[in-house]
């Protein structure tokens, strides 16, 4: 109970810090820009307006959320370490795991606020253009939240032991590979199959394929959370798919946070 109370107080403080760093204002600005942009794009596009608005907006929610997850996630932990505010904090009866969990929860609340605000903007835009607010679009926005929850956990993990710049690059790398790992696996397998005898890929194909397989299984399968096309085509996902992906994201974020705690436990604060 004490652990949860500590984490809760740190989460509140971290959310408040993010507010004072003006991150929510950036979110609000993004929401307004998104509304204007999606309507304009719908007007200009040769495709169906509703199709364009839905597919583009879900991607924009994901990308702007990525920006917040990386910069707020890395920034807040790094700021505590570099500005040494962590010295007084950890000298209180606060465990290092409660500190990290609190930071993560506070920032996750910020991400949730971002997704809710931008999704609401999307619904307003859809209503304004006489589009339909269907289950697939709600499912797509919901899955973006879980995707960002995983990226945020990585941002916290990297920021516990490396600089802000390196942590941001690594977190962005995870996002990219997470979205492409399935594609990479398919491409490697395809190239291996069609490679000629005596070529590098024919000789080492299995090894390269195993590396691609390792990346695919170890790193998060973020492509599973990108359902903007299904949303645009109004294809409802099976609820088991949505639930299993939520459980996968939750579990994955927990494992990454546990790793962060392990690294953080032995860290010296000079």
């Amino acid at each position: 109970m004490l652990f949860l109370r500590e984490a809760y107080l740190i989460a509140i403080n971290s959310f408040r810090e993010a507010f004072r760093d003006k991150i929510p204002y950036v979110v609000l600005l993004a929401a307004i820009a998104l509304a204007a942009f999606s309507v304009l794009l719908g007007e200009w596009s040769v495709f169906d307006r509703e199709f364009v608005v839905k597919s583009v907006t879900v991607t924009v929610i994901s990308l702007s959320g990525l920006f917040i997850a990386i910069f707020a996630g890395v920034g807040q932990v790094q700021k505590e370490i570099q500005k040494k505010t962590i010295h007084t904090l950890l000298a209180k009866p606060v465990s290092r795991s409660a500190f990290l969990l609190g930071k993560y929860m506070g920032l996750l609340a910020l991400i949730a606020m971002h997704v809710i605000l931008l999704s609401s903007t999307l619904f307003v835009v859809l209503w304004a253009i006489n589009g339909s607010i269907t289950a697939p679009i709600i499912q797509a926005c919901y899955l973006v939240f879980w995707e960002l929850a995983i990226i945020l956990a990585f941002a916290v993990l990297f920021s516990t032991y490396s600089s802000a710049l390196i942590s941001s690059i690594f977190s962005f790398g995870i996002y990219l590979i997470g979205h492409l790992s399935n594609q990479i696996l398919k491409e490697v397998y395809f190239a291996y199959r069609i490679s000629e005898d005596g070529s590098f890929l024919r000789e080492n194909g299995e090894f390269v394929y195993n590396i691609a397989k390792g990346i695919h299984y170890i790193l998060p399968n973020l492509f599973k959370f990108n359902t903007s096309m299904q949303a645009a085509h109004s294809i409802t996902l099976e609820y088991s798919y949505v639930i299993w992906n939520s459980i996968y994201a939750f579990g994955y974020a927990c494992v990454v946070l546990c790793l962060a705690v392990l690294l953080f436990k032995g860290k010296d604060f000079v």
Binding site: T85, T88, A91, P93, D268
Partner: protein, 252 residues
Amino acid sequence: MSEIQNAIEIKDLHKTYRQGFWLSKKKSLFGISLEVKKGEIFGFIGPNGAGKSTTIKVLTGLLRKDSGEVFILGKEPSKTESRIGLGYLPEQPYFYDSLSGYELLKFYGGLSGLKGKLLEERIHWALKIVNADADWIYRRLRTYSKGMQQRVGLAQAILHKPELLILDEPMSGLDPLGRRDVREAILTLNKEGSTVFYSSHILSDVEAISHRVAMIIDGKISHTGTLEEITKQTGWNSLEDVLAKEVSRVVP
């Protein structure tokens, strides 16, 4: 179970830093041993870079020891419980500058297990002790002078009336009035039952308020005892003379 007699116990403590890109080693503490009894005001003195802050950071759990034994109120610093009865003021207290002093104290008070009316009462009590019960406490911390920050820093350390108070250079950078206030706060808190362990460069203050003193030079404890014991042992008149002699011995 027998009651713990020592607020701090350090036996043969070693600490090495790893620094730079290649993580090269730099040893900072070479097997120091120290005991601080409950109820004492204990001064920890030494030149810059001698290992005072390193020792304090090991005690507060911010640094992990290489080897040796360290106990804070009978518990190891790596355990969260060791900090329940601990109050700590770092050498240069850094706080969330977007908060007001009052918000900061509420936050830290909450982390120390205080809430509701008790927390409000303790904030006013602590502010009175550090002579900071004024309107500026509701201003943002980024507008504070060094003296104001030090007072807020001390207030956050004493909010929960800790059994053991560890202060790293609490008087540095303060004007004479600020120094007097900190000195008086230390004496008041000690009278109310807190053990105080503090490091300082200002030897006249150390001589004035400490029950016992330890001197650390180059990562090793060179003298421990009351002021009389140390001056008698060394044949010098003041701590300043003893320190100067010890430093010149190490750095000829």
